[in-house]
């Protein structure tokens, strides 16, 4: 099955990003496709390369990038939500790109299920 994933909360402050990451990983490793993950609301902070969690904790920003590279997942940060929060290309982590909300609608159209992770 083809899943579209939407992440609506930032990393570390909320479980949503962890759960979305685990769902996405399980889906692609189980033979499903996740062509794109769309980050909205505080979810845009998942793409901040300046994020530096403590060494003994998981680094979600890096994990997302690695998963995307391994499985060909398009990680899209919403531009309007990103600008509000100071998320710009200069601080964008590897594997992420910034684009418009249209990419979310397109994801809904192109996949069998859209799964939203948020509060």
């Amino acid at each position: 099955m083809k899943f579209g994933v939407m992440v609506n909360e930032g990393p570390f402050t909320h479980q949503a990003s962890d759960t979305a990451y685990r769902f996405t990983k399980a889906a692609v490793e189980g033979g499903h496709q996740v062509p794109r993950v769309f980050f909205y609301f505080d979810g845009v902070n998942n793409g901040n390369k300046l994020s530096e969690p403590q060494a003994d904790d998981r680094n979600l920003v890096k994990l997302w990038g690695e998963l995307a590279a391994a499985h060909g997942i398009d990680l899209v940060i919403c531009v309007a939500a990103a600008l509000r929060r100071g998320m710009k290309d200069e601080i964008l982590a590897e594997g992420f790109r910034i684009s418009g909300l249209g990419q979310l609608v397109e994801l809904g159209l192109a996949t069998d299920r859209t799964v939203v992770f948020g509060d």
């Binding site: 939407m6 609506n8 062509p35 794109r36 909205y40 609301f41 995307a68 590279a69 391994a70 499985h71 060909g72 997942i73 398009d74 309007a80 939500a81 509000r84 790109r97 418009g100 909300l101 249209g102 979310l104 609608v105 397109e106 994801l107 809904g108 159209l109 192109a110 859209t114 939203v116 948020g118 509060d119």
Partner: protein, 143 residues
């Protein structure tokens, strides 16, 4: 080795039923404002859409909002734009999309509101009707 990443999908001619579920009060958090931006973009794609207001989300469309004292942008007039999109879709045979604006009855009544308190025309649905409508959707986006 890195897998190839596709950044464009072929969605030509695909039309789906989208539901936007608005659950939060308008100014205590950013959810309502950014959810509204999400709804507006879907109009550009001519998709069928249900814009639903439940729980504290019903406060988003209450008439006469004044945010001056809070120093925040009053975005409630933008719901009028959604109402216009809906009317255009209803009246223009060239626009191939159906929009509905719905409010859950219990959420409204529990907060002492009636349909007259809203700045836009809404359909008031019982929770069972809303559940059926939700089941009929292809994409449900909630905030």
């Amino acid at each position: 080795m890195n897998a190839e990443i596709a950044t464009e999908f072929d969605t030509e001619g695909v039309q789906k039923n989208f539901m936007f579920v608005n659950r939060k009060a308008p100014y205590g958090s950013i959810y309502a404002l950014e959810a509204l931006e999400m709804v507006l973009i879907s109009a550009a794609f001519e998709q069928n859409a249900v814009i639903a207001f439940i729980d504290d989300g019903v406060y988003q469309i209450v008439k006469g909002q004044d945010t001056k004292a809070a120093g925040m942008k009053n975005f409630s007039p933008t719901f009028g734009v959604i109402e216009m999109e809906k009317e255009d879709a209803d009246e223009d045979p060239d626009i191939d999309m159906v929009w509905r604006i719905v409010v859950e009855r219990d959420s409204m009544e529990q907060r002492g509101l009636t349909a007259e308190d809203f700045s836009i025309a809404v359909e008031v649905l019982d929770s069972a009707e809303l559940a059926d409508l939700m089941n009929a959707q292809d994409v449900v986006l909630s905030a």
